[in-house]
């Protein structure tokens, strides 16, 4: 274990050194400055709500926090990705798994290695966000205990879930007692809440949480959070042993689960090579796949002949379909329906409820317009990692650029159309007065035409950043971290929005001219102005695609650092 501890320590040290060395590059240094400035602005600037000194945490926060922690712990069991919790790098797999190292030692190594990321989060939460009455070092310790306990719990959940998967029914039986206990506690909590006086309000919920059974169920969570909320140094010292006790108990549970995992692995008798292959494929210590993964059933037709650029659009749409998990769709649908239900339920009348839902959809439309083209990345931002193959394709720069921007643009536009449709359905029927329906429909029609063009321009700008400054962007599956990357993200996001505003100047001017010329016929002025603006923006989009094609043709993937 001494060697593994040394390896973990050296790994963390070298990671920090590499980050520090990277700062010699102006773009990383600038990124770090912007990232730090962002945190300062949000959390520490004079007048910032989070910078205001706090004497103690609000009783509501203290009462709700253990429940929040329960939800996070539950997520590890229901939906959390255990692959990430147990992921080893290919080098670790090749060297450590082949070496005479026991699995408990490997797990301890994994725990040590995760400390670098954990400490970053601790500093972020403890110093920048939490401004409690405790000295800063007490806050750091308190936050570390919470995050470490949560991390241990995630890994334990991962091992138990893997065990259950590998053992089939036997594994599920093994999970039976913990599941029964959790089920009983959940029933008790739900029953307490349901029978609390004044059901529905937050106070009633908090009262219910304070009843004996929920209180007992939440005890480990309260204990682990107690140092964070301690009002004085003395209270912190008194609360710390309880929190550490939970941490140690969680560690013991993890190691016992690990023993079970060894047993399970022996019983299963699967080939170790398969596990290594799974690890190499980035699937962590997950059970080896007995069946090769099959494609999602939703097919997209593609004729073997025709314009080759269509193949690239098809490929990127396919990427979006494969990425889109059923759980995401279900969660998004259920979440949206729940929010809509709350709005309608809390509104004084159905009309106002519908108005609220419509307004929310329009707000979501704005957010999707500004941030959708950044968040959805089925384009060059993903493909450039395979530039060595892309550059051999017999597709011209303009066609390739148009195809690369196409899938992301279509996906964002589809999302916007859904939001627009819901907004129209809720606002047009029974909410808007009759004389406003006509202009609203016309506005909606203009949006229908304009949105894909706006999306195309924004997606094009983000792709231009990827082609011009690939080191600033997350290319392919790469997910760089650190404050400097956050700073670069802020810079590119703000830069993209600034360029977009510049792109709007010409269409706006042309629309103003048309408006002025036709001002004596307001309807024609509005329609003409909108149409001219859309055509002008479309022209700019074509120009942007052409420029991107030229840029791509000149791109040297090796010099740009996107190919080995």
């Amino acid at each position: 274990m001494t060697t593994l501890a040394w390896l973990a320590g050296v790994g963390i040290r070298n990671q920090l050194r590499r980050r520090a060395a990277r700062l010699k590059n102006p773009r990383y240094a600038l990124g770090l400055l912007v990232g730090l400035a962002y945190f300062w602005w949000i959390f520490a600037r004079p007048g910032s709500p989070s910078a205001a000194p706090q004497t103690a945490f609000s009783p509501t926060v203290v009462a709700l926090a253990p429940f929040g922690l329960v939800l996070l712990a539950l997520w590890s069991w229901i939906g959390g990705s255990y692959e990430r919790s147990l992921a080893f790098t290919p080098a670790e797999v090749d060297f450590l798994f082949a070496a005479p190292v026991s699995r408990p030692d490997l797990i301890r190594f994994k725990l040590l290695r995760v400390q670098a990321a954990l400490l970053f989060a601790v500093v972020l939460i403890g110093v920048l966000i939490l401004h409690g009455p405790l000295p800063w070092y007490c806050r750091l310790i308190a936050v570390w205990v919470v995050l470490a306990a949560l991390n241990l719990h995630q890994i334990t959940a991962a091992l138990v879930r893997i065990g259950a998967t590998e053992r089939g029914r036997a594994g599920l039986r093994r999970l039976g007692i913990p599941l029964l206990l959790v089920g009983l506690v959940a029933v008790a909590v739900v029953w307490s809440v349901a029978t609390a006086a004044g059901g529905g309000s937050l106070d009633a919920f908090l009262t219910a949480l304070d009843r004996p059974v929920p209180r007992a169920a939440l005890l480990p969570f309260r204990l682990v959070l107690a140092p964070v909320f301690a009002p004085t140094g003395r209270a912190f010292v008194l609360a710390l042993p309880g929190a550490l006790l939970v941490l140690v108990a969680q560690y013991v549970w993890l190691m016992r689960s690990d023993a079970a995992f060894e047993e399970i692995a022996a019983e299963a008798g699967r080939a170790r090579a398969q596990r290594l292959a799974a690890l190499r494929a980035g699937r962590g210590l997950a059970a080896p796949r007995t069946k090769a993964p099959r494609a999602r059933r939703l097919r997209l037709p593609l004729a073997p002949t025709g314009h080759p650029a269509v193949a690239i659009l098809w490929k990127n749409l396919r990427a979006l379909i494969v990425d889109l998990r059923t759980s995401t769709i279900v969660l998004a649908s259920v979440g949206s329906a729940a929010v809509a239900a709350v709005i309608v339920w809390s509104a004084p009348s159905a009309r106002e409820g519908a108005q609220g839902v419509g307004a929310l959809c329009l707000m979501a439309l704005g957010v999707a317009t500004l941030f959708g083209p950044r968040g959805i990345r089925a384009d060059w931002r993903r493909d450039l990692a395979k530039a060595e193959v892309l550059k051999t394709w017999p597709v011209g720069g303009f066609s390739l650029a148009a195809a690369e921007l196409g899938a992301t643009t279509l996906a964002v536009a589809l999302l916007q159309y859904v939001l627009l449709l819901v907004a129209a359905a809720t606002l047009l029927f029974g909410v808007l007065p009759p004389h406003e329906i006509g202009p609203a429909v016309a506005g909606g029609a203009v949006l229908l035409l304009a949105l894909p063009i706006i999306d195309g321009v924004l997606v094009g700008i983000h792709n231009a950043f990827a082609l011009l400054f690939p080191a600033w962007m997350a290319i392919g599956a790469e997910r760089p971290g650190g404050i400097e990357h956050m700073g670069q993200t802020i810079l590119t996001t703000v830069g993209a929005l600034a360029l977009f505003v510049i792109a709007l100047i010409l269409p706006a001017l042309l629309a103003a001219v048309v408006w002025a010329l036709l001002s004596h016929v307001p309807l024609a002025a509005a329609a003409g102005g909108a149409l001219v603006a859309i055509v002008a923006l479309a022209g700019e989009l074509v120009l942007l695609i052409w420029s991107l094609g030229k840029l791509y043709d000149r791109l040297d993937p090796v010099a740009a650092g996107v190919a080995r």
Binding site: A277, A281, G282, R283, R289, A292, P293, R294, A295, L302, A303, P304, T305, G306, P308, V310, A311, I312, W314, K315, R318, A319, V322, D323, K386, A387, E388, V389, K391, T392, W393, P394, V395, G396, A477, R554, D556, P557, V558, A559, A563
Partner: protein, 241 residues
């Protein structure tokens, strides 16, 4: 046919390839060999259009890669040492995608033939992360051969293949050459080069240091007479004092 004249590629102060000229005739297999850092990968990348040469011309079947890149690329196939596959496309979808990219009219029959030949039949609906390294290499090969290229560029084509697949890969390369395809094969495996290639191009520090059949190369250097390819290679690429 691949025709390379005066190919030069430099990066800042590094001259990776210097004034390289050679041709791969139809039906010929030219072996490109050289020590690590000799400029092989840079040469291959220039040949297939991944990077632009600093100087010189490259033509595929008479189509200049600089002035008529699409015509040249339509005739080319590049199979890199590390298979570059899309993690979100299945085996079948990779082939469907490449078929459209190159407008392969007989895509269905050709795909079925390649899938059968390369033993990918039971993996057709599988994503790359469900394939072994060798299977991924086979898929990359299938993608490369799907559009009936007239010029085939291979970088370490045997990496990750099992003995049976190595045998079939060699047969495939021979068959491609026999059907008139110009094949350029880069490899560190001198036995493979000796076994398959019609001629050999040895590059060292970005320059061509020898080209021809093994016998021609040996005859040009009397001190190499009677020696094997490995000795010839080491003698040609020995570090200059």
């Amino acid at each position: 046919m691949i025709d390379v004249q005066g190919l030069t590629k430099s990066y800042a102060d590094v001259l990776a390839v210097r004034d390289l000229s050679f041709a791969v005739r139809d039906g010929e297999i030219l072996g490109l060999v050289g020590p690590n850092g000799a400029g092989k990968t840079t040469t291959l990348r220039c040949l297939v259009g991944v990077i632009r040469p600093s100087a010189g011309t490259i033509a595929v079947d008479g189509h200049d890669l600089a002035t008529a890149p699409l015509e040249a690329k339509r005739r080319l196939a590049f199979i890199p040492d590390e298979p570059q596959l899309f993690e979100y496309l299945t085996v079948t979808e990779h082939l469907r995608f490449i078929a459209r990219l190159y407008n392969v009219a007989d895509a269905e029959a050709r795909s079925a033939e390649l899938v059968r030949e390369l033993e990918l039949t039971d993996k057709q609906d599988v994503f790359p992360d469900g394939l072994s390294r060798g299977m991924k290499q086979k898929l990359a090969i299938a993608c490369g051969l799907l559009h009936h290229p007239t010029a085939l560029v291979l970088d370490e084509p045997l990496t990750g293949l099992d003995p049976g697949a190595i045998r079939r890969m060699k047969d495939t390369i021979r068959a491609q050459a026999a059907s008139g395809v110009a094949v350029l094969l880069s490899s560190h495996l001198l036995t493979l080069v000796e076994e398959l290639c019609t001629r050999i191009l040895v590059i060292h520090q970005g320059r061509a240091v020898a080209m021809g059949t093994i016998d021609e190369i040996k005859s040009s250097r009397p001190e190499l007479a009677g020696k094997g390819l490995e000795d010839v290679f080491l003698a040609l690429t020995a570090r200059q004092p």
